[in-house]
């Protein structure tokens, strides 16, 4: 649709803890979930405009994480993030993406919100952010033992045999 056109109308994103974030439609559209909603409206452009989307409830995302996402989106429209090539050409994040993104994800990590950001990016369907977050996870756990990883991310102790089997079953495709 009108992807190339700068759409500077604003839309308000509301987190599950009722924090509000104003963002332009152009910025918001890096989320494919939001794009689906807005484009549906654009298709009906000829109908009355009262119907225009003003607010969108981002049900699954909390304010502190949505804050990061909005920050990411605003920067993304200024300078699109480099594509993360697979296999990774380095083990250091700042050698793979631009400095802003490397600092950004480091900040999220330090804030202990990395896992929540992964979930939120997945939910809101923001591929580039999801990749960046996963990249951070990958570089962080590289060369670490199970215990260290669990400590870093504050995960619960060992899985039961049953749970382990379950996870393997679910993630067959990984192998």
């Amino acid at each position: 649709m009108n992807e190339e056109i700068d759409d500077n109308r604003e839309v308000t994103l509301i987190s599950n803890d009722c924090q509000q974030f104003n963002i332009t439609i152009k910025e918001a559209k890096i989320s494919k979930l939001i794009r689906e909603i807005i484009e549906e409206e654009e298709e009906d452009d000829d109908s009355d405009c009262e119907d225009e989307v003003k607010t969108i409830n981002i049900i699954k995302v909390s304010g502190d994480v949505l804050q990061y996402i909005v920050e990411y989106a605003k920067n993304y429209v200024l300078e699109a993030m480099d594509e993360i090539e697979s296999p990774l050409k380095s083990v250091k994040v700042d050698e793979i993406v631009q400095p802003w993104y490397a600092e950004f994800i480091q900040k999220v990590y330090a804030d202990g919100k990395l896992f929540q950001l992964v979930t939120a990016a997945n939910y809101m369907n923001i591929q580039e952010l999801l990749q960046l977050a996963c990249l951070k996870v990958a570089t962080t756990i590289k060369g670490k033992s199970q215990e260290q990883i669990r400590e870093i991310f504050g995960l619960s102790p060992e899985l039961t045999a049953e749970e382990r089997k379950q996870i393997e079953e679910e993630n067959k495709w990984v192998r």
Partner: protein, 741 residues
């Protein structure tokens, strides 16, 4: 990845919510025909809730991960709606007529696209992981597949018949709902999910079959009732209509197939009948100059493979008939007692006019297609080489050129001369005996050049270069040699004039040196020459020998000219005569009476020269010599004396004399041909070493460009070469020749 604090959603509870919030609403909107929808079908609140619900159900840990069930339910929901609602509605309409069915199908297809879109949006999260990891059809593809299996496959026979019926109606000139057809045809195109198999098998093929039937009936109708031009107008319109039809609502890939069917039915199967139709067939159109009809005919049949061949055959036959008529006219004139003259331009002009006309017709009506150019050529080759009467057509053509190129012939501008020559050369290219033309042309050229009768040396050069283009340098080398002899002559004339001034001979005297071989061979009688002349000749010979020691001069008196000043009574005349005439007049000077026998002795001439010589002086328009007894024929008993009573209004008089030589030497042509054939045989055998008789003859025939010898002549040459031991017959096979080095 369940977030802490949120509770597990069971499939039953989740599905119930999706069912009520999304599916029931969607289906009721479709059923109501969007009556109650203002703006968005689903607000973003509703949508994001359903999306989130699906997201949750797909991201819960096993055993609460419901991806598989959701994917299944997505399909089942669509299938159920299609079989329960859509199919019965279509079935009910099918019996009410084609248009009603198509309208319903159009609506249901549009509905399905809306449903499919929303179902894809709601279950979007499935597409992202579940579908990918299990390599399933995407939601949208699955939705389309359900429509294909449950609706399309069921209803397509009726739908296709309905579409074809509407198209046939449009062909009959009725207005139809093109948009309805277009949207339905889009269904056929899209249902294949990227390939056109459904469209081609389910719609296109039946349509092609129906089209064939339709136009087969039309053909049978038209061919009885319409003339060829009327039929072709209809055929052309039909083709245009079908092309527009494809553009209007069919897939572009159908265009060629559809047009081919129409071409086969309307053109190919009717071609012979149309072309030969009595009163309006191709031949009739040609004879009536029906340009527009012929153009259309050519345009239409050029669409078929080899479709132009039969037309070209008729064109050839027609032109051939026209040409033969010209030949016949000439024959009838001769039979009616007209004298056959080689300089009669009527015949050549008629051929030129015919050629020009049909060259134009082929260019404009048959778009210059090579097959018609060939037809024209073949036709002309056929009748241009049909000789009737005493003179061959080659001679007519060459003489026609002579007429154009010689001063005082046709009055034409420089441009017209060149154009006419171009046309004659085109005609010339059809001649099989080009060598005969060359021989005659060379004789006539020689005469023009030597008698100073050539109107323009530029025109001469133009003509030679045209012949050269047609036949190559070998063909024109002698003619070019003749022209250059004259150029050299003009240069050296000045020098010789200077030389003459330094002698005490006071006479205008000039000599044109001709190179042996370039020029025709002329009779050169050993006439006794008066002293004044021989003095001049000696001066020239000495001068020439100094400059060219290796060259031998031979004098050709029969070609020379002289001006003789003669007094008759009180009046003085300048007589412009040939050298021979001048010598004879010199003898008659002073009013002496001489008998024929005396003249014969004194001049040292035989009858074949003396008779025409004396005839020109005593029986022509200007009788400067009187003959007794007076008559129009020279007898060996006649006697002659200068005509004292001669008088004329003009002071300068040209007295022509009949040529001593024929226009060309047929024997020489034959000799040249023999050389050419032998050269070709030897060349071929040298390359091939051994060859069968038939192959050798064929090869020789293909090599000889300027004439077509008959195989017997070739055989004779082969035998002659065997006698001279260039070739031998093979010991094992009398049909095989070996080359002897």
């Amino acid at each position: 990845m369940t977030e802490a604090g949120s509770e597990i959603i069971t499939f039953e509870r989740g599905w119930e919510e999706i069912q009520t919030k999304a599916i029931d609403k969607l289906e009721s909107i479709l059923d109501d025909g969007f009556k109650n929808v203002k703006g968005r079908m689903f607000g973003n609140e509703d949508y994001i809730q359903v999306y989130t619900l699906c997201y949750d159900m797909c991201t819960q840990r096993s055993p609460y991960n419901h991806s598989r069930e959701l994917y299944q339910r997505h399909g089942e929901t669509i299938e159920a709606y299609l079989t329960a609602k859509v199919l019965p509605a279509l079935r009910a309409r099918a019996s009410q007529g084609g248009t009603i069915l198509l309208n319903e199908l159009q609506k249901r297809w549009a509905n399905h696209q809306v449903m499919n879109k929303w179902m894809t949006k709601f279950f979007n999260y499935l597409d992202r992981f579940y579908v990918k990891h299990h390599s399933l059809q995407t939601l949208s593809q699955a939705g389309l597949r359900h429509f294909k299996q449950n609706i399309y496959e069921e209803i397509k026979p009726e739908a296709t018949s309905a579409i074809i019926a509407l198209i046939d109606e449009e062909r009959d000139g009725n207005m139809i709902d093109k948009t309805l057809i277009k949207t339905n045809i889009e269904l056929y195109e899209n249902i294949g999910m990227g390939n056109l198999e459904s469209y081609t098998n389910d719609l296109e093929q039946p349509l092609l079959d129906a089209t064939r039937d339709y136009y087969a009936k039309k053909r049978e109708l038209w061919i009885v009732h319409d003339s060829t031009p009327e039929y072709l107008i209809k055929a052309e319109k039909a083709l245009q209509d079908e092309k527009d039809r494809v553009h209007d609502y069919l897939n572009p890939l159908s265009e060629n197939k559809l047009l081919k069917v129409v071409e086969e039915e309307v053109l190919e199967k009717a071609e012979t009948i149309l072309l030969e139709k009595e009163g309006s067939g191709c031949y009739v159109l040609l004879s009536n100059d029906k340009s527009a009809d012929l153009q259309r005919m050519c345009r239409l049949f050029s669409r078929l493979d080899n479709g132009l061949d039969p037309i070209a055959a008729i064109v050839k036959k027609f032109i051939c008939d026209m040409g033969m008529e010209i030949v016949q006219q000439r024959q009838s004139r001769l039979e009616a007692g007209e004298k056959d003259k080689n300089d009669d331009p009527t015949f050549v002009k008629a051929l030129l006019a015919l050629h020009e006309k049909y060259l134009g017709v082929i260019k404009s009506d048959f778009s210059g297609h090579s097959i018609f150019q060939k037809a024209l050529k073949d036709a002309f080759v056929e009748f241009v080489n049909k000789n009737v009467g005493q003179y061959k057509n080659t001679e007519f053509m060459s003489t026609y050129c002579d007429r154009i190129l010689k001063s005082g012939g046709e009055k034409l501008s420089e441009k017209e001369v060149e154009e006419t020559l171009e046309k004659v050369v085109q005609l010339f290219s059809y001649l099989t005996e080009k060598d005969v033309f060359a021989e005659i042309y060379r004789n006539q050229l020689a005469k023009r050049l030597l008698n100073g009768r050539s109107a323009s040396s530029d025109a001469e050069k133009v003509m030679i270069s045209k012949l050269k283009m047609q036949c190559g340098t070998h063909f024109t080398s002698k003619m070019e040699g003749m022209i250059s002899d004259l150029a050299v002559g003009a240069d050296s004339k000045g020098e010789f004039d200077e030389h003459m001034k330094s002698t005490d001979v006071k006479m205008d005297f000039s000599v044109q040196v001709l190179t042996t071989g370039f020029w025709p061979t002329y009779k050169s009688p050993e006439i006794n020459i008066p002293d004044q002349m021989s003095t001049c000749m000696d001066i020239f010979k000495t001068w020439h020998d100094q400059r060219h020691q290796q060259r031998k001069l031979t004098w050709v008196f029969s070609l020379g000219n002289a001006t003789v000043r003669a007094n008759f009574g009180k009046k003085t005349y300048d007589l412009n005569v040939t050298s021979l005439q001048a010598i004879a007049l010199n003898l008659m000077n002073g009013g002496k009476k001489k008998t024929y026998e005396e003249l014969k002795q004194e001049l040292n001439l035989d009858d074949s020269v003396l008779k025409p010589l004396m005839h020109s002086l005593s029986c022509g328009k200007y009788k400067v010599i009187s003959k007794s007894p007076a008559s129009n024929k020279i007898n060996s008993t006649d006697s002659f004396v200068a005509n004292a009573k001669f008088s004329s209004n003009t002071r300068k008089i040209r007295i022509p004399m009949a040529s001593l030589d024929a226009t060309h030497n047929a024997k020489k042509v034959d000799e040249d041909r023999n050389y050419a054939i032998e050269a070709s045989i030897v060349r071929t055998m040298k390359a091939r070493k051994t060859l069968k008789h038939q192959q050798l003859v064929a090869e020789v025939l293909s090599q000889l460009a300027f004439f077509k010898p008959n195989p017997r002549a070739i055989k004779k040459r082969i035998e002659s070469l065997i006698d001279r031991e260039y070739l031998e017959r093979s010991a094992d096979d009398s049909q095989l020749y070996n080359y002897l080095a």
